[in-house]
Symmetry: C2
Subunit: 301 residues, 2 copies
């Protein structure tokens, strides 16, 4: 099959729909599919999700950054979410028939081009980082636009991977590669939010729980249940089935039960195949055993 990547650039504009319209319009052309676009006024930030062939998605990301740099001025931007650039982050995500290494190479290529053609400082982050500490986006972005602007010229920690050692009104952009993130929630038949918070605490990686899992506990008052809300930041490390089983076991220890689970947004087919492999101990299963996949492969030949 043809390789597919996803890209989820974040732009520092959450209030003027016409600005996001212009950015999205620059990013969408044949070969690129717009999967989602969201604006948040209090964060003053927009998240755009596109997918398609790697070269087309890379071109779309560049055009989005180009348009954002023209229309957004960080000197007048205020919002709750930390930010350092008009285009704040550009993560590339392998979906199908492409490796993380390929996405790292793509991130570096797009980063180099943004630096050179748009004259914007670029920091490589996550799997594309060139320094270990820059894997962490929060570290790269510490102090936000205003601090980086003041430090970038003299502070060696602030030296960008590409582009000039000075920031204009478009700020700087973090370009990187990371695994697909699955937003997955499990609901429990209790109104005691402490149970959800306790299970979240021992489920997340930081609490010594499951690797590559972030978790929080919430009450869903209108439904009379509580929720363990998880981000699976690398489903090849911990997938939905393992997360479900862990929460279910911990819930049962506390005398409560799973009423259901939910997947927020999209998921790669491979994450579904993984559930079948794990829940059914299914051996030797590959997604090419799925009729629709075989038909799509034949159509692409």
């Amino acid at each position: 099959m043809n390789p597919i990547i996803e890209c989820v650039p974040n732009f520092s504009e959450g209030r003027r729909p016409e600005i996001l319209d212009a950015i999205v319009q620059a990013m969408t052309f044949p070969g690129v599919m717009l999967l989602d676009r969201e604006m948040d006024a209090s964060h003053n930030r927009a998240v755009v999700t596109i997918a398609g062939a790697p070269d087309a998605v890379a071109e779309a990301a560049f055009r989005g950054a180009q348009t954002a740099a023209r229309l957004i001025d960080l000197n007048t931007h205020r919002g709750e979410h930390p930010r350092m650039g008009a285009t704040d982050v550009i993560p590339f995500i392998p979906i199908r028939d492409i490796t993380m290494g390929d996405c790292v190479a793509l991130a570096r290529r797009v980063g180099e081009r943004i630096g050179r053609e748009l004259d914007i400082p670029v920091y490589l982050y996550e799997r594309a980082a060139t320094r270990p500490e820059r894997r962490d986006l929060a570290y790269v972005r510490r102090g936000e636009y205003e601090t980086i602007r003041d430090e970038i010229t003299a502070n060696p920690d602030r030296e960008p991977d590409f582009g000039p050692r000075r920031m204009g009104p478009a700020g700087a952009v973090a370009v990187g590669a990371r695994p697909f993130l699955i937003a997955y929630n499990v609901n429990l038949d209790t109104t005691d939010v402490r149970i959800a918070k306790e299970i979240a605490k021992i489920t997340r990686e930081k609490g010594g729980g499951l690797p590559s899992v972030k978790a929080l506990g919430f009450a869903l008052h209108d439904q009379g249940v509580v929720q363990v809300s998880m981000n699976l930041t690398d489903f090849n490390v911990t997938g939905m089935f393992a997360a479900f089983q862990h929460v279910k076991t911990e819930a049962e220890k506390r005398g409560v039960h799973v009423v259901g689970s939910e997947l927020v947004g999209l998921v790669p087919l491979e994450a579904l195949a993984q559930i079948a492999r794990q829940a059914l101990k299914l051996q030797g299963f590959s997604s090419s055993q799925i009729i629709e996949v075989k038909l799509a492969e034949a159509a692409n030949k």
Copy 2:
């Protein structure tokens, strides 16, 4: 998305590859994908699996029947498998974005055309049957070619749905519609085949077990395990997860454990989505949440 159906015609030729080549060649053209072809010499029978858009698949099935009628003579055909025609059965199977009712209508249209253009008697069977007893293929085919040939003119039970009340050397064909069949096996960590046979007996529908499930128990001597081998004849009634759970529970009652399971051949995406829904109590999940499906939908627009 565009509707997709599968069709699995069986032809009474399992020994001369050049005959099957000619049939398959007649059946494959743009819009039709050949998923599988198998010949069995002792059965003297071939099974061809194609998929694609309904009209294309219907045309392919007709052309296959036309070619088989020209090349296969039932008067000289001998084999272990019961048969009544050069093309013995033509089942149409809904895969995606098409109903069973649509497949029934398609089966009747193709059956009518085979009767009229090829002058071959056609019996509608399974979901397309016009008489309750004809849902059962074994009933339709009782006595095989030779008996039906002798009875078709005078016996009202043998009146075909379409085509002439007489059989030529191409015999008769059963045309129908049925759900997708999943071949699914669960392996147990014992060498005692009686356990597999016992679990198969209480798992299959005929033994009062799971509806729409056929099951047999085998020893896999080379692997040192036994196998409960199942046909799930309608996975919307009993799917892989329910079958797995049932066999697992019965195995554990007998002190043995599941070492793994395996899916033979192909499966519709919906069967995989069903596993996720059931194993994770996943609520509100639809296959349009799969990135690859969204991309394919966009490409087909």
